[in-house]
């Protein structure tokens, strides 16, 4: 659903702004309410549907400016938001059921098709682990040419982007609740019994919780918090499996993986053409490295505070990242976020003008 694209956009904005989930949700809610209201007022003023939506977005202003004014985005990162602002316009139009931007197809397909044309390269995920950790599962999934639904980034996506329509835990155990979440979003899961025993975690505690439309990851965090504040239960994703264990066992081993980001660099070039006055100077590849370092777990790179000494460098249009497995998951998730908005960026922007 195109509504999702709008959410993706706000999610991405949140990443850049380094907000916590609560603040992000609050800003999303507020901006969303504003857009709804503006569209309604425009309709009431006699505008046609398409015009009402377009005008509301036009009045909303430049998302890069928005990010800038929220105060925490660097000059070099603004191009992402320029690109995604255009994508958000398209997504919004799609959400409102606007047709006729292009002949025949909805804006969604039109966007993707054109991006594919422009980029001339497949946009399938291109993470290629240089060092495969354990598990036959991982090897198996990498063997297939399509991205399997159980790769780490996909699992992370399902947890963060999915929705649990209804949660009715009445005197359930924490463990049963976690199983429910994993099954609802269809991801493999495993309880690391040894780790849990070691920290004395008790997942058989009873909980009662009734919620609607909740993000799976948020629900997972709620359940884990129920196990006690200082117990140290945590979750992680490895080899496409959601693992519930101890936070001390989070992986510390670093490995190199290469990510092909030629499509994202092409997106930048495409955006630069659409933005009057261009995007300013600066080497796109250097910018990309800087941004990645800053957006994904900034404390985990060389010189950071977390004890992990990750590193990255760019070879052509490939970025080689030396990091722990869980941070690789975040890198993939970030790249996928960018791609999900990039997929609607290129063509329809000109149509929307």
């Amino acid at each position: 659903m195109s509504d999702q694209e709008f959410e993706n956009y706000l999610g991405l904005l949140g990443r850049f702004l380094r907000l916590d989930a609560r603040q992000r949700e609050e800003i999303r809610r507020e901006l969303r309410a504003h857009l709804d209201e503006a569209v309604e007022a425009n309709l009431a003023a006699g505008m046609g549907h398409d015009e009402a939506v377009r005008q509301a977005l036009d009045d909303f202003g430049d998302a890069a400016e928005l990010a800038d004014r929220f105060g925490k985005i660097g000059r070099n990162e603004r191009w992402f938001m320029k690109g995604t602002a255009i994508a958000a316009v398209v997504a919004w139009l799609g959400f409102m059921g606007t047709q006729g931007l292009t002949s025949g197809d909805g804006p969604q397909q039109a966007g993707s098709a054109t991006v594919a044309e422009v980029l001339g390269s497949p946009r399938t995920a291109s993470a290629a682990p240089a060092d495969k950790p354990t598990a036959a599962k991982a090897a198996e999934s990498e063997a297939s040419s399509r991205v399997p639904p159980t790769d780490n980034a996909e699992v992370a996506r399902r947890l963060s982007k999915g929705v649990l329509a209804e949660v009715n835990f009445n005197d359930w155990t924490i463990e049963r609740g976690i199983e429910f979440i994993a099954k609802s979003v269809d991801v493999n899961y495993h309880f690391m019994r040894e780790e849990l025993d070691e920290i004395g975690a008790d997942l058989s505690r009873s909980i009662t919780c009734n919620l609607r439309n909740v993000q799976p990851e948020a629900m997972l965090k709620i359940l884990i918090a129920e196990s006690g504040p200082d117990v140290g239960v945590s979750y992680r994703v490895e080899n496409g499996i959601l693992l519930i264990g101890s936070e001390h066992a989070r992986p510390r081993r670093l490995e190199t993986r290469c990510y092909d980001v030629s499509d994202l660099l092409a997106m930048r070039a495409a955006v630069a053409e659409q933005v009057p006055g261009g995007l300013g100077g600066g080497d796109a590849r250097e910018e990309f490295c800087r941004t990645l370092r800053r957006v994904v777990s900034p404390e985990s790179w060389i010189g950071g505070t977390s004890g992990v000494e990750g590193d990255l460098s760019m070879f052509g249009a490939t970025v080689a990242v030396y990091q722990t497995a869980d941070i690789h998951v975040q890198v993939e998730a970030f790249l996928n976020d960018l791609r999900s908005v990039a997929a609607t960026t290129t063509a329809p922007a000109s149509a929307a003008r």
Binding site: E37, F60, G61, F70
Partner: protein, 129 residues
């Protein structure tokens, strides 16, 4: 589509220094949500201050962080809305900054009048007195 009175470039420059003041002013008559604040600013300035939402919300959040405004969510109006209002500190800030601003603009006005040779050149009285 083409609204007649879009904020001009020079107005935008002036506004940059007084955005907070404008937002605080819009809240002085009572609690409002973002969309209403924009409408109020447009109305009260004959469209000269026509902010983008992308400008307003970050400003509101910054004011809230400084505890000059406070907010609450309420859907009693039939729609989920975040309502902002002035705090006591916000009222004080508005009063102080307004005084500074008025003194400053009065000084600039005297400067311009002398530069343009007396009252005649600036004879157009301020709109709506």
């Amino acid at each position: 589509m083409q609204t007649p009175s879009k904020t001009s470039d020079s107005t935008r420059d002036w506004l940059r220094g007084s955005l907070d003041l404008a937002v605080l002013s819009a809240l002085s008559s009572g609690e409002k949500y973002g969309y209403q604040i924009l409408a109020e600013l447009r109305r009260a300035t004959d469209g000269r201050i026509d902010l983008k939402a992308g400008t307003l919300y970050p400003a509101l959040h910054a004011l809230e962080a400084q505890q000059l405004v406070k907010s609450r969510w309420d859907d009693a109006s039939g729609r989920d809305r975040k309502w902002y209002s002035l705090t006591a500190a916000g009222r004080r800030r508005l009063r102080d900054r307004a005084r500074e601003w008025l003194e400053f603009t009065a000084a600039v006005r005297r400067l311009l009048e002398s530069a343009l040779g007396g009252g005649d050149a600036l004879a157009t009285p301020p709109a709506n007195g």
